[in-house]
Symmetry: C2
């Protein structure tokens, strides 16, 4: 045995690096009684390897809000701790009997691995079945009886195991006490995290153009966002450093921010993706100022193939899943030696938004606080969604098949990006509109040189923006105003952008919409067609 093999908790040796094919073979044996309704589970227990050789996460007591720090455990859990005694009969928990669940079987038609297209799915898709009592009948470890009953704030043990393994496979956080807990999606996670880590009157830092829903969640809580300048790779570390180094609590009437909210990959709205060096530089600034990082990564697996402008040869897709994983820009989580990152993942962009299922990864301290919040907040994601996801990504595809699916999406988005970029090159006036080909995500960010507007000296940026927006509407093309994404509307802005997406419309419609937008811009800037 090579010396770098590591023992897991049961004294079994596991390889120094994991791969998607063999990960299932390293699973620890788990007693059937651990899969029942509302079974408590610990993400840590599902990690394939022990991580004792790594440093422990820092403690974050000093940034927990009063609400979060004061949150007690769910009192009904105390009683549940006696349930494991042999022969115990419970008249305790108010879980309804499954005889009153009017569903006996669920069937899901899903694509076979490698036959992922809509057409192949329809033709060759496979029906996978979940029964009501599959667990008791030893047909599966998850079933209707279990998933349709009450669950835990962290979600089902069954899906939490897969999520933990996926996280270890993709990110392998470099500290010992990391953990995962399920969420009802990252929108809700952001709401929770703001309540956990901020108080009214606080500022958090974020990109100067940022996800508007995050700002709209923060504002009613009395939390403001301080914008950090960006370039083509998003957040600028030196701008973040300057913001924090020069922070004047008296002038701002607020303490220096302790939280950075960032979307490092395919950022919404700018489409910007931070390269590896950029991430390491931002992390170093975070260490300098003891910032805690919220890494919101719905688009992480929408990293595309290298861009080839019209006519050049397309790059070949990754030859193996190991190569695919290696091609991905390292996450903040994967470079987080301090445990100062809370990463939000979601199935919304890679499987379906309607699952309303995601997860966070952070240090055990933070994950424990989050889970307590979930218990009296959402109670975790829909059991129906969890069952459907488990049957697909764990039982049917497995980790390897799931990565194959992600490569399929990668290639699909690469094609869609090609369509919008070719349309932009064809239809937009380059003297007014400029852009960078996005590296990841769903958004193409169009910069308008507003200074070339005939009335630039007398009109505001917002007036010119509205003029272009309405002209585009009149042409029959809807794009979103960049100003809707200001991190802070009170800050000065001297740029004008529109956000477009290549994720939704069919290719011919994308082309036509960009043509219409070009006509609108030309008319506003008095250019000839």
């Amino acid at each position: 045995m090579s010396p770098q093999w590591l023992e897991n908790g049961d004294g079994v040796a596991t390889p120094p690096s994991l791969d998607a094919q063999s990960i299932r073979s390293h699973r620890k044996p788990i007693d059937a009684s651990q899969w029942g309704p509302a079974a408590p589970a610990k993400s840590e227990s599902f990690q394939i390897r022990q991580h004792w050789h790594k440093p422990k996460a820092k403690r974050w007591d000093h940034i927990l809000s009063k609400e979060s720090a004061g949150r007690a455990g769910n009192s009904l859990k105390y009683a549940a701790s006696f349930l494991s005694r042999p022969g115990m009969i419970s008249l305790g928990g108010g879980l309804p009997s499954d005889e009153y669940f009017p569903w006996d079987e669920l069937h899901f038609k899903v694509p076979q691995v490698g036959q992922f297209s809509d057409k192949e799915l329809r033709k060759n898709g496979v029906l996978i079945k979940a029964g009501k009592h599959d667990l008791a009948e030893q047909k599966s470890i998850f079933d209707i009886s279990t998933s349709f009953n009450y669950g835990q704030g962290h979600g089902s043990a069954q899906l939490l195991r897969w999520i933990t393994e996926h996280t270890e496979l993709v990110h392998d956080p470099p500290y010992t006490d990391w953990s995962c807990t399920m969420t009802v999606g990252s929108t809700c996670s952001m709401d929770f995290v703001l309540r956990m880590l901020t108080q009214p009157g606080d500022y958090i830092a974020s990109e100067e153009y940022t996800f508007s829903t995050a700002v709209e969640a923060a504002t009613p809580m009395g939390v403001k966002v301080a914008g950090v300048k960006m370039d083509d790779q998003g957040l600028l570390p030196e701008s973040l450093d300057a913001l924090l180094s020069n922070w004047d609590p008296a002038e701002r009437d607020a303490k220096k921010p302790t939280i950075l909210y960032t979307v490092p990959t395919g950022q919404n709205p700018t489409g910007a993706t931070q390269g590896e060096k950029r991430r390491r530089d931002v992390y170093t600034v975070a260490q300098k100022h003891d910032l805690y990082i919220i890494e919101d990564e719905p688009y992480y697996f929408l990293q595309m193939q290298p861009y080839n402008s019209q006519g050049t040869t397309a790059s070949p897709p990754p030859a193996t899943n190991a190569e695919f994983l290696k091609s991905l820009i390292p996450s903040y989580l994967s470079i987080d030696v301090d445990g100062r990152v809370l990463r939000m993942d979601s199935f919304s962009k890679v499987l379906a938004p309607g699952t309303r299922t995601g997860w966070i990864t952070a240090s055990q301290q933070i994950v424990e606080r989050y889970t307590r919040h979930s218990e009296v907040g959402t109670q975790g994601p829909s059991g129906v969604s969890q069952l459907m996801l488990f049957k697909l990504v764990d039982e049917y595809w497995g980790h390897d098949g799931y990565l194959d699916w992600l490569v399929h999406i990668r290639l699909g988005y690469t094609q869609r990006r090609q369509v919008i970029l070719e349309a932009c090159e064809k239809w937009l006036p380059r003297e007014i509109v400029s852009w960078q080909p996005p590296v990841a995500g769903m958004f193409h960010w169009l910069k308008i040189d507003w200074r070339k507007h005939p009335l630039a000296s007398s009109k505001t940026i917002l007036e010119i923006e509205d003029e272009i927006f309405m002209a585009s509407i009149d042409q029959g093309a809807l794009v979103i105003k960049g100003s809707q994404f200001y991190a802070n509307k009170e800050e000065n802005h001297d740029t004008l952008y529109f956000r477009s997406t290549y994720a939704s419309a069919p290719p011919d419609k994308i082309n036509e919409a960009i043509r219409r937008f070009g006509t609108a811009v030309r008319s506003v800037f008095k250019l000839k067609e």
Copy 2:
């Protein structure tokens, strides 16, 4: 046409009262374009009849928290308002294309109406199917493509219509501007409502024994609960009146409560059910003190048949669904002339908790604030859950079949209650343990005459409670301590209870658990077997 027929919004006459059979025939025609992904909808537009002849709800601006009052709409909605223009192509919203949803068909095996038992379901259940493009292919108004994409904070238009109709059918609120919006279950609704209607330092009023999760949600927000005395019918109006009339803000260091949280039917933990007169009396006290009422009603449809003690003839079930509805105790919502009630409904106890889907009904003002919160909070319930529910309760069963199902559950719970009551009569020492047969819900509340404990003069109630609890554990029966449900642990309590449930365990286990509990009580109180 009889003069009491009322016009709906389209000038069509509708009957003065609704029935489950014909409700669908009164639906307003709705254009297919209104059922697409993330289609905005208004509950009001789905009401069968207009309610113009009723009074308008009072305004509640004075009880909205700063957070809720300051919540702006979702800015991305502004752009969406242009989507209805003919020919518009959107590169706006970041909705993924359904070609990347790896599900093509879902099948749900469900019971036929009238063949509801687990055995009949397994044998004669019907597979209902949802396809990916059923909407476009005009096979259904709801499909995978729509439900698996992003939705609105209020949930899908499809299921919201059914919910609105169900609410009109069952409760017919006596004011004009009521509305429904979906939730991810009542646990989350309580969290939202506390954030909407309270500030740190506030008190809310509730039963002296109340749902512990509600208290555990409130506590970290700095919100305390003032307990109101109860009898067999739950909350005592005169105790509520006294609490509010005698409220001393200086002594309490808090303003007089403006919120009453109550579970009127089969209350958790006491199982108490408020009769109609009790509800009207509480409502009158609420009017006197301008209290806003949170009516949490997961157990409303677990109202059982009249109780018959051992050996007497069982009452016949309701002959018709109209008779069934008439047999139900009127909800607060149904007597709410002021619009001062926010009612929480949930599918958890009547279909399955794992759906994580419920709804609230309140005045449009409050529902609008709630929906804004959902948009940046949960984004509404799982689309997978919503699709599964819609296919069952709207398309397959319809309102009438759903009421049949509720009667089936009613009879099931009636049987289960019979089992626990017979066991109690058989096994418990009546000189120590007393109870009332529950009228509704899942809980049987056992009162212990702690004064008869041999060391009653030297032990505290909590010590005696723990002694009984541990003795029961040692016997192999788990019941829950009443003290876990104190509304306020700082208030004085001179009663001792245990909560047991007849909802989960099979009948023979219920009987055995009660036998064991009886043995435990006898041993603690030094009685002979």
